[in-house]
Homo-oligomer: 222 residues x 2
Amino acid sequence: MTISLTEENYLKAIYTLSHLFEESEVSTNQISDHLKNKAATVTDMLKRLAEKKLINYIPYQGVKLTEKGRRTAIKVIRKHRLWEVFLVDKLKFKWDEVHEIAEQLEHINSDELIQRLDEFLGKPKFDPHGDPIPDANGQLNSVKALPLNQHKAKGTFVFVGVNEHSKAFLQHLTSIGLKIGDAIKVEEINEFDNSFKVKINKNNSQFFSNKVASNILVEIKK
Amino acid sequence: MTISLTEENYLKAIYTLSHLFEESEVSTNQISDHLKNKAATVTDMLKRLAEKKLINYIPYQGVKLTEKGRRTAIKVIRKHRLWEVFLVDKLKFKWDEVHEIAEQLEHINSDELIQRLDEFLGKPKFDPHGDPIPDANGQLNSVKALPLNQHKAKGTFVFVGVNEHSKAFLQHLTSIGLKIGDAIKVEEINEFDNSFKVKINKNNSQFFSNKVASNILVEIKK
DNA sequence: AGAATTTTTTAGACTACCCTAAAAATATCT
DNA sequence: AGATATTTTTAGGGTAGTCTAAAAAATTCT
C-alpha cells in the first residue's frame, strides 16, 4: 500500500495538531484551518485515511492516528528535520529559509537515503529550530524544552529552540541578535504585561514581549 | 505558470528521445514506450503541453520542444545529475543505486537550492555515469564522449561514462572491475562479431561483447 | 493504386483531490 | 427545553492524469 504525498501531509497535520493542543482527538475544522483546505475536502480525505487504517475516524467526533498512521507521520517529520539540518549545516541556508524546501524534500521516499543522510549529518538530535529529530524507530528521545515565559523566575537560560516557525518571527530573532545556543539572562519580569527584561550574551539589556517569550524555548543554564 | 511533476517527466522524455535518435520530431509511440503510458494518454498530455507553449505539436506528426520546453527539460536533467553526484560523492551510494532516488529529487523546486547544491559539490561537470551536467544557463559545455566500439582501432582509452544506465549493466561493469577513470587497452578487435579483447588497468585480458563496447564511453588516453 | 497494417487520435470512463451549497448533527444560549 | 449557532457531512461538480475501445489518419505491402 502506497501513501500519497497529500495523505502524508494530512497525517503530519493530524500528528502536529494532536500534540499542539494536548488532545488526542483532532477535529475536521482544525485540519481544515491548518492545511487551508475546505472542511468538506477534509471529510473526504478522512474517509480515505480511515479506509487505509491510518486513522480512527468516527463521524462528527474527530480523528486519531492509528499506530500505523503515527509511524508514517513521524517518519515524514524525521525526514523534514533531517533535510533542514542538511540545508543549514551543509548548504548554509539561514534558519528562516529552509521550511518550504524541506516541505518538498520530506516526501522523498527512500529508507536507504534517510539512513545515509542521517549518518552524513552526524546523527543530529535537533533541527536548526531546536525541534527534536525522531530516530529511525520513530522514537523521540529528546524532550522539547519549555518556553521562556513558563519559567517564572529570574536566572540565566540557554536558547535551544522556537515554538513558532514563521519567517517573520525567525527573522525578528535574527535581527535582535538571538541565535540557538545563546545565553539569555532574565533580569526582570514585568507583572502587568508579562514582558521580560533580558540580556543576550552579556550585551545590552532589551525587552521581550510575552508573545516573544512564549515562542522561545530555553533550558536552565548549568 | 506552474509545470507539474508529470509534465516535467514528459518534457524530459521528449528531450531524451529527440537526442537519442538524432531526430528533432518525437512520436507519440516513442513517448508512450519510454514512459510506459498508453498512446492515448500521451496524446492527451501533448495537447496540454502544446497549450502551455512547451512543445510544438501537429497531430499525427510528432512533437518538438519549444525553447521554453527545452529550458525546462534541461533544468530537470541538471537537477537529476547534480543530485546523483550528491548521492554518490557525499552519501556514498553506488552508481547503480542512485537513479530512482534522483528521479524523485529532480522535481524539487528551488533555484536557490540547486545553486547551493552545485557549489557544495564543487560545480561538477559530469555525473557519476559520465553524463555532462548542464550549467545554470542550460548550456551543455562538455560534449559526450564516443562509445568504445566507434573507435575502430587498437590503442589505450580512458573510461569516462556509460550509454546505458540500467542497474544490470552498471552492476556488470562493477563485477568485471571497471570504474570511471580506468584505462582500457584494446588489444584486438574481432572482425566476425566485433567483440573487443581488452586489458583494464594492466590486469589480465578479457573480452567485451560489441553490446558492452557500444555502451562504454571512452576518450583516447593522452 | 488499393488493401492491409500500424500509428495516432477521439470518445467515454475512472480515481485522487479539490470546490460550493445544502442538509444533518452537535453544541450553546437563554 | 427549545431556539440558535456552529460544526461536520453529504451531494454534486471540476481538473489532472490515467485507462480501454473504437475511429481516423498515415504508412507499408503487393
